[in-house]
C-alpha cells in the first residue's frame, strides 16, 4: 500500500509538469495551428533563465518565477514575428519543422555554453523542508509544484474558455478577418498568444529547475511525451490536455509499481489505443 501511494504521489508531481507543458502546447496548437516543437526548448530556456538569473544577477527563485516567463515570452514574440508569421498559410508540417530547427539551435547553444551534465539549482529556503506523510517523506517543494501547476493550469483554462478576452482570442483565430473588422488587432493577439504559451513553458521550467538537473537536454527528453499527452487529450482541447497530463502522471506512477520497465512506454501505448478508438483524442473537437 505504501509503495502504491508513494509512487502515485510522485506520479502526481510528474503529472503536473505534463499538464502545464501540454497546456501551453494545446493553447498554441488550438489557437494558432502551430505544432510547436520548440516547446521543450522554451521550457529548458525558462529553467536556464532562472539559473543564470541566480548565478549572474542574484535573482532569487520567487522573482525568477515572474521574470523568466516574461523573458522567454519576449523571445516567443521574436520567434512569432520573425518566423512563424510566414507559415500560417502553408501546410502545418512546415511549422513543425521550423520549430524543430529552433529547438535544435537552442539546445546546441546551451550545450556549448554549459555542457551536458547539468547545473544544480537549489530550492528556495522556504520550501526546503520535507513532510512525513506516513507512507513516504514528501519534500515540501514537490507539494508546492503540484499546487502551483494546478493553479496556473486552471487559471489559464478559465481565462481562455470563460472570459471575454479568451472568447476574442478564440474568435480571432477561427475567423481573423471578421474579428479584425471589429477593430481588434488580430496579429498582435496571435503574437501574444504564442508568447503566452512560451511563458507557460518557461514557468514550468522554473518550477522544474530545483527538482531535476538544469540541463540543455531536459526539454528534448520531455517534449515527445508531452506531444503524446496532447494527442491523447485532443490536440485543440485545453481542458483535455490538463486532465490527460495529470492522469498520465498517475498512470505512469502506477506502472512503476507493477512493471517499472514499461513506465516510459505506457504513454505511447495509451496513445496508440486512443488513436485507434477515438482518433480526435479524448476531448478533441475534430471529427
Amino acid at each position: 500500500m505504501q509503495v502504491f501511494l508513494s509512487q502515485l504521489m510522485l506520479g502526481l508531481v510528474n503529472g503536473s509538469f505534463y499538464a502545464m507543458l501540454s497546456l501551453g502546447l494545446a493553447v498554441i496548437f488550438g489557437l494558432l495551428g502551430i505544432v510547436n516543437f520548440a516547446h521543450g526548448a522554451l521550457y529548458m530556456l525558462g529553467a536556464y533563465a532562472a539559473y543564470i538569473g541566480l548565478e549572474r544577477f542574484g535573482i532569487n527563485y520567487w522573482v525568477a518565477l515572474v521574470v523568466a516567463p516574461i523573458v522567454i515570452g519576449a523571445l516567443g514574440v521574436v520567434i512569432e514575428r520573425l518566423f512563424l508569421r510566414h507559415l500560417y498559410k502553408i501546410d502545418p508540417i512546415y511549422g513543425l519543422l521550423l520549430t524543430f530547427g529552433l529547438a535544435l539551435i537552442a539546445e546546441g547553444v546551451l550545450r556549448y555554453s554549459f555542457g551536458v551534465s547539468g547545473q544544480t539549482y537549489e530550492k528556495p529556503e522556504l520550501l526546503s523542508g520535507a513532510t512525513d506523510l506516513g507512507f513516504m517523506v514528501l519534500p515540501d517543494y514537490r507539494a508546492w509544484v503540484v499546487v502551483a501547476s494546478l493553479v496556473v493550469c486552471l487559471g489559464t483554462w478559465f481565462l481562455i474558455e470563460r472570459t471575454r478576452l479568451g472568447a476574442t482570442l478564440r474568435a480571432g483565430t477561427e475567423n481573423p478577418a471578421l474579428v479584425q473588422a471589429f477593430g481588434i488587432n488580430v496579429p498582435l493577439m496571435v503574437t501574444l498568444t504564442y508568447a503566452g504559451g512560451a511563458g507557460l513553458a518557461a514557468l514550468a521550467g522554473v518550477l522544474a529547475a530545483p527538482v531535476i538537473q538544469v540541463t540543455p537536454l531536459m526539454g528534448s527528453s520531455l517534449i515527445i511525451i508531452v506531444f503524446a499527452v496532447v494527442v491523447i487529450g485532443g490536440m485543440g482541447s485545453i481542458l483535455g490536455s490538463i486532465i490527460t497530463g495529470l492522469a498520465l502522471g498517475l498512470v505512469e506512477g502506477l506502472t512503476k509499481v507493477f512493471y517499472p520497465e514499461a513506465s516510459s512506454i505506457v504513454v505511447f501505448v495509451i496513445m496508440a489505443i486512443v488513436l485507434m478508438v477515438r482518433p480526435a483524442g479524448l476531448f478533441g473537437k475534430e471529427a
Binding site: Q2, V3, S6, Q7, L10, R111, G115, V116, S117, G118, A130, D132, M136, V137, P139, V211, I212, Q213, T215, M218, S221, G253, K256, P260
Partner: protein
Amino acid sequence: MFKLKSSLSACSLALAAVFATAPAHAQVSGDVIRIGFITDLSGLYADIDGPAGAEAIRMAVADAGGNVAGKKVEVLVADHQNKPDVAAAKAREWFDTQGVDMLVGGTNSGTNLAMAKVAQEKKRLFISIGAATSALTNEQCSPYTVHYAYDTTALAKGTGNAVVKAGGKTWFFLTADYAFGTQLQTDTTKVVEAAGGKVLGSVRHPLSASDFSSFLLQAQQSKAQILGLANAGGDTINSVKAANEFGITKTMKLAGLLMFINDVHSLGLKATQGMYLTDSWYWNRDAETRAWSRKFFEKFKRMPSSIQAGDYSATLQYLAAVKATGSDDSDKVLAQMKKTKINDVYAKGGWIRDDGTMVHDMYLMQVKSPDKSTEPWDYYNIVETFKGEAAWTTKSETKCATWK
C-alpha cells in the same frame, strides 16, 4: 520522364560535397607518433576524466620530451558523448585515416568495449583507463587491450567486503543501466554473497537520469540495510542528494561502489563522511603524488582524480616503451610494456598481465569527517592496501579465453 537534368547538377553537387568533406586516407604513420584519446568530454563523466584527462596526457608527452625516438608526438582528442557507436566510428576512422598508433580509452565502459573491438581488428594498442567493466579482461579480453587503472572486480572486492564486514548484510542495488552498472552489480553481488550477505533486490536507472525519486522509493521498500550505488559521476552525486532529500539515509546506509574525489568534493564531507570507497590512487598518498598533483592543481584548480593520474602514467609508460624499442609498431611496443615494471607517480611495481590487467596496489579508503580534514581536498583516510594481485581477478576466476 527523367528528372535527369536535376541528376546532372545533383551529381556534380554530390561530387563536390564528397570531395569537400570526405576524409582522405593518410599515410600510415611514418614520422609521427599519434596518441588518440576518446572520452566523455561534456557529459556526466566530464569531471573525473574529460578535458583534464586530455591535459594529463599532454603533460606526459611534454615530460617525455615531446619527441620520442626521433619522431614528434601528437595527441588527438574526441568526445564520444557516452555513445558506443560514436566511439567505435571515431576509433575506426582514426586508425584508418589518421595513422593513430595508440588509443587511450576514457570513461564509460560501453564505449571502451566497442573501442577495444576496433583496436583488436586493426591490431593496434588500446589502453583503457577510465572504464570500469571487468569484461575488458575477461569475456572480451584481447591481446591488444590493456586495462590500466581499475575494474569492477577490484571495486567489488574492496568496498563490498569492507561494508559487509562492517555489518551491512542486506543490500539493494541502484544500478546504471549499461555495461558498467550491470557488471559492477554482478561482481559486487558475488562478493557480498560470498561474505555471507544477501541481495534483496535491484532497480536500473537510465544513464544520466535526472530524477531518482521513484527508484529510491523502490529501494526503501526493500527494507535492505545497504543501498549499493552501482553508478558513477553525475549519477552518483544525484542519487546521494536525492537519498538525503527523501529521508532514505535515515533507514539505509549508502555504499558508493565507484566514487572519485570529484564526487566527494561536489557532495561535501558532511554528506559523505564515513563512506567506504575503493580507488587506485590518491593525490595525498605520498610526497611524490603531492608534488605532481600540485602541478595539476595549478592548471585546473582542482586535484587530479585517479583516472587523470592514470592517463598521465599510461602515456608516459607507452612513450618509454616506444623509446626503448625505437618503433611505434603496436606488437613491439606492447611486448616491451609487458616486460617492464611500472614505477612512476601513479603505481609502484606495477606490471601488465597476460589478460591485459595492469596489476598494481589498490586502496580501501574511508571519507573523513569534516573536522578531521586539514585542507581542501584532504578527504580520505587510507584504511587498507590491497597489494599486487590481491584485488584483481584470479586465474581460477577468469573468463578470458586466452589467459590460461
